[in-house]
């Protein structure tokens, strides 16, 4: 795609947007998007709906196309991977090495087995999207209705969220409009362009382009037509979306979360250096901006043991910084990060290690951290006499906001510790170092990935 207006837009019929006026996207990258508004939005939705009705792709075709896309993303030499890495770095301020690693990890979500696992887990038989299928163990049958129009408001701080959302929309094979954020306007359109080249039937019902959020000329017709709206945002952003979506249309909202690493005593003894390297990966990827980014490490041990691990983690973060340098966006928050670090240092018993340029910091805090976790590769290490105390310490507010936990524990204890985490509301549990490599089927915010988007009809045949 050489037309700059098209780099931040994908509409299945390219000619349809070729002569649209262009609008500049906020930011320093000098990007543009086509202006599609008013009646044109209705027209576009009608085209997407018509395309899905006329030649709806098969599940197998979608899965095959996504698998091909995944292979290209996983190939460090593939032009798509190289172009996306460069574009993402330019648009988001992340460093190319970091983005490249993130792309490689993200590719796994789109592989055939990942897609098929999601479909099997949540739909049983994906043919349920096309008609009634048998319900195992009963005489009943059921079918799933995908949204008549799915609208997705994407976040701009973690491109993988857009990749996941795109894959889920494609697997439902329904008309969909995805709105990229100004911070990352090009990734999803670029992936759609690539998919169109792989198999145009797969993308016939999907459009993605940036517009100024809240623009009534775009969103009034879009939200009037959509019956499911997916949004990632803070309370104010989600409330603004809710206020403009009227029943029977639904909003599927994802709020801000953080993740943590829980280290059992026996795991610490078994190999602290490897553990620290894994935790550093969980902190550094996406510059700690994602809900799957580790912000706190709970160490089962004494304050001295936590401090010893803090020193190892500091060394590991220094290594990670050399491998995947922090981006401009993360460094742009240096003032907030410095303020948080220095405020933490004023509590009794804290110990800190930090990069000379502020690119990362480890704060060992015997007391619960009493500042908002600032991001910017700042990780708080908290000692607990027993890991179960994580869930009972009311002052450790972060524990009630966890999306995922990386758990390092012996097999004998892992089950019980994982159950504690699950009961506390944690949506995903994995090994340290794997927080940023979730499967496509992971239940973000504890909810089914596809199940939240479809409606079912049950037939007692």
């Amino acid at each position: 795609v050489t037309d700059p207006a098209l780099t931040c837009a994908f509409v299945p019929v390219a000619a349809w947007i070729a002569d649209r006026p262009r609008v500049a996207i906020p930011g320093d990258a000098g990007l543009f998007a086509p202006r599609i508004e008013g009646a044109a939005v209705f027209d576009l939705v009608a085209r997407l709906t018509g395309a899905c009705a006329a030649r709806r792709p098969t599940t197998a075709a979608v899965v095959a196309a996504l698998d091909t896309l995944a292979r290209r993303l996983a190939d460090g030499a593939h032009p798509l991977r190289r172009r996306l890495a460069a574009d993402l770095a330019a648009a988001t301020g992340a460093t190319p090495a970091l983005v490249d690693e993130e792309l490689a990890r993200c590719a796994g979500q789109l592989r055939r087995e990942s897609c098929e696992r999601l479909l099997a887990l949540e739909l049983g038989d994906p043919a349920a999207l096309d008609g009634f299928v048998a319900v195992p163990g009963t005489t009943a049958r059921r079918c799933a209705r995908a949204p008549g129009l799915l609208a997705v408001f994407l976040p701009g701080n973690v491109f993988a969220a857009g990749v996941t959302a795109l894959a889920r929309a494609l697997l439902l094979r329904c008309p969909a409009v995805l709105k990229p954020a100004a911070g990352d306007p090009a990734t999803v359109p670029a992936l759609l362009h690539e998919l169109q080249a792989i198999d145009p039937s797969v993308t016939a019902g999907v459009a993605a382009w940036w517009w100024r959020g809240g623009d009534p000329a775009v969103e009034e017709p879009l939200l009037a037509a959509a019956d499911v709206v997916v949004a990632h945002g803070d309370d104010a952003a989600l409330a603004a979306i809710h206020a403009r979506v009227h029943p029977p249309a639904r909003v599927v909202a994802y709020g801000p979360r953080v993740s943590a690493v829980l280290v059992a005593r026996e795991a610490l003894a078994a190999g602290a250096d490897a553990l620290a390297a894994a935790v550093a990966t969980d902190v550094a990827l996406y510059d700690q901006a994602g809900c799957l980014s580790a912000a706190v490490v709970a160490i089962e041990g004494t304050p001295a043991e936590a401090e010893a691990f803090g020193a190892r983690l500091a060394a590991a973060l220094a290594d990670a910084e050399a491998r995947w340098p922090a981006g401009a966006e993360a460094r742009g928050r240096a003032a907030a990060v410095t303020a948080a670090r220095r405020t933490l240092a004023m509590s009794e018993g804290t110990r800190e290690w930090a990069a000379p340029d502020g690119a990362w910091a480890v704060v060992v805090a015997p007391q619960p951290p009493d500042v908002p976790l600032p991001g910017g590769r700042v990780v708080v290490v908290r000692p607990f006499a027993d890991l179960r105390d994580v869930w009972t310490s009311a002052a450790d507010e972060w524990a009630s906001q966890l999306q995922a936990v990386a758990l390092a524990a012996s097999p004998a204890r892992a089950g019980a510790l994982a159950l504690d985490a699950a009961r506390a509301g944690v949506a995903r549990i994995c090994r340290p170092g794997e927080l940023q490599s979730p499967p496509l089927a992971w239940p973000q915010d504890g909810r089914p990935a596809l199940g939240d988007l479809v409606a079912w009809t049950w037939w007692d045949a």
């Binding site: 100004a182 911070g183 623009d215 303020a339 948080a340 004023m346 000379p356 500042v371």
Partner: protein, 409 residues
């Protein structure tokens, strides 16, 4: 016989005396860097010894009192810390006032406890008189802010009450109603009719309300020559947001006050001193530069520093965040690290707004982003009456981005 060390009270009183003497020499007194440094080091030693949370920060930095300690190395306490720690050199229950910065939903308000108002009052009066009424007090004042009894823990309210006491002859305190500015109009019209200059003091959003209301009311007011405006702070969602130069153009149009007679004040709950534009002095033909570069008074040092390393001052013309060493903060922490972005401009600084806040965590959009802003928003201010710094409470404002060049508490 080894003399016993001075008690905290005696030590504090001695420091207060020295600081008051420095303030007493006036805003326009020549800077005495050696005297300032000596006093600042003694004050640092006092706070290191008697303010436990601050001492822990110093220990983390590996800095202890030392007669040769460069001022730049005195550890800077983030203003954020006032929300999380009790930062006093005296028993908190002996505070005579606790200025409070209000917080947005879910945020903890900050408290700045003072053992005495003597330093605060002396400093604010000296700076205000120098920059806002160097030609003597206007016979009339209009304060656009809630009355002190309605906002008793607002540092801005306390400051305004000191320079324009409620109930004083010729003075009026009003909160401009966004839809009814008739009372304010009456005060202004009376000044116009009497031909007596008036000083109008308030927050930026209150001036937007005033100008909007005056526009709806009819003919513009033409305030008498010598009238002036002191505005402070930002908008916080209390009014539509207006760029600073636009706001000043509106004030000139609606009130007839020339641009140079409008001054911006920079202050914050956590800091006892204030900085001002020098335009009004220049307009009156008094010594000073006619720019909007803020210059610290003799009892304050301000640096524009690297956000990642607050001991490192940025080059002239470069952008960083503001660090202050304020002797008026004798009872709390004198060295403050703010979240205010500024450009170093010779011996002063130009305010640019708030530094980017801590990132919202977790694949999310902020409302500003949802509504079309770039991913990196320019600022994330806290609640309150005013500007880029933790605002003084009392105005009941809601959150919103700040204008560049505003002040705040």
């Amino acid at each position: 016989v080894t003399p016993s060390p001075p008690t905290s009270a005696a030590e504090a009183a001695a420091l207060d005396g020295r600081i008051l003497a420095l303030i007493g020499r006036g805003e326009g007194a020549p800077r005495d860097d050696a005297a300032f440094a000596a006093l600042a080091r003694d004050l640092f030693a006092h706070q290191y010894a008697r303010n436990a949370p601050y001492r822990r920060l110093c220990e983390a930095d590996g800095v202890a009192p030392d007669p040769a300690l460069p001022l730049e190395r005195i550890p800077a306490c983030p203003t954020e810390a006032f929300k999380r720690h009790v930062l006093t050199t005296f028993p908190p229950d002996r505070a005579v006032v606790g200025f409070r910065s209000s917080g947005t939903t879910g945020q903890v308000p900050g408290r700045h406890l003072l053992p005495t108002l003597a330093l605060y009052h002396a400093a604010l009066r000296a700076s205000f008189d120098w920059y806002v009424q160097p030609d003597g007090r206007c016979s009339r004042t209009l304060v656009l802010f809630p009355a002190p009894e309605a906002a008793p823990d607002s540092s801005l309210g306390a400051m305004l009450a000191r320079v324009a006491p409620p109930g004083a002859p010729g003075g009026a305190w009003l909160v401009p109603d966004p839809v009814d500015v008739a009372p304010a109009h009456a005060v202004l019209a009376a000044a116009q009719a009497a031909g007596e200059p008036i000083a109008v003091l308030g927050t930026a959003f209150s001036f937007v309300h005033l100008c909007d209301g005056l526009e709806a009311l009819g003919p513009d007011v033409r305030l008498p020559r010598g009238s002036r405006v002191m505005e402070t702070g930002g908008y916080k969602g209390r009014s539509r947001e207006v760029a600073r130069d636009q706001l000043y153009a509106m004030l000139t149009r609606r009130l007839g006050v020339p641009d140079a007679m409008i001054v911006n004040e920079y202050g914050m709950t956590e800091m006892g001193s204030q900085c001002y534009d020098g335009t009004l002095r220049a307009a009156l033909g008094l010594p000073g530069r006619a720019d909007r570069v803020k210059r610290a008074p003799p009892w304050l040092r301000s640096w524009v520093v690297d956000p990642a390393d607050p001991t490192r001052e940025v080059a002239d013309g470069a952008i960083g965040i503001l660090k202050h060493l304020d002797l008026v903060n004798r009872g709390s922490v004198c060295c403050l690290l703010t979240g205010d972005r500024a450009r170093r401009a010779g011996d002063g600084f130009e305010l640019l707004g708030r530094a980017a806040g801590a990132e919202l965590r977790g694949c999310s959009l902020r409302l500003e982003q949802l509504e079309g802003g770039p991913a990196r928003i320019a600022s994330r201010r806290e609640d309150g009456g005013a500007g880029p710094q933790a605002p003084r409470s009392g105005g009941g404002q809601r959150s919103g981005p700040p204008p560049a060049g505003s002040t705040g508490r």
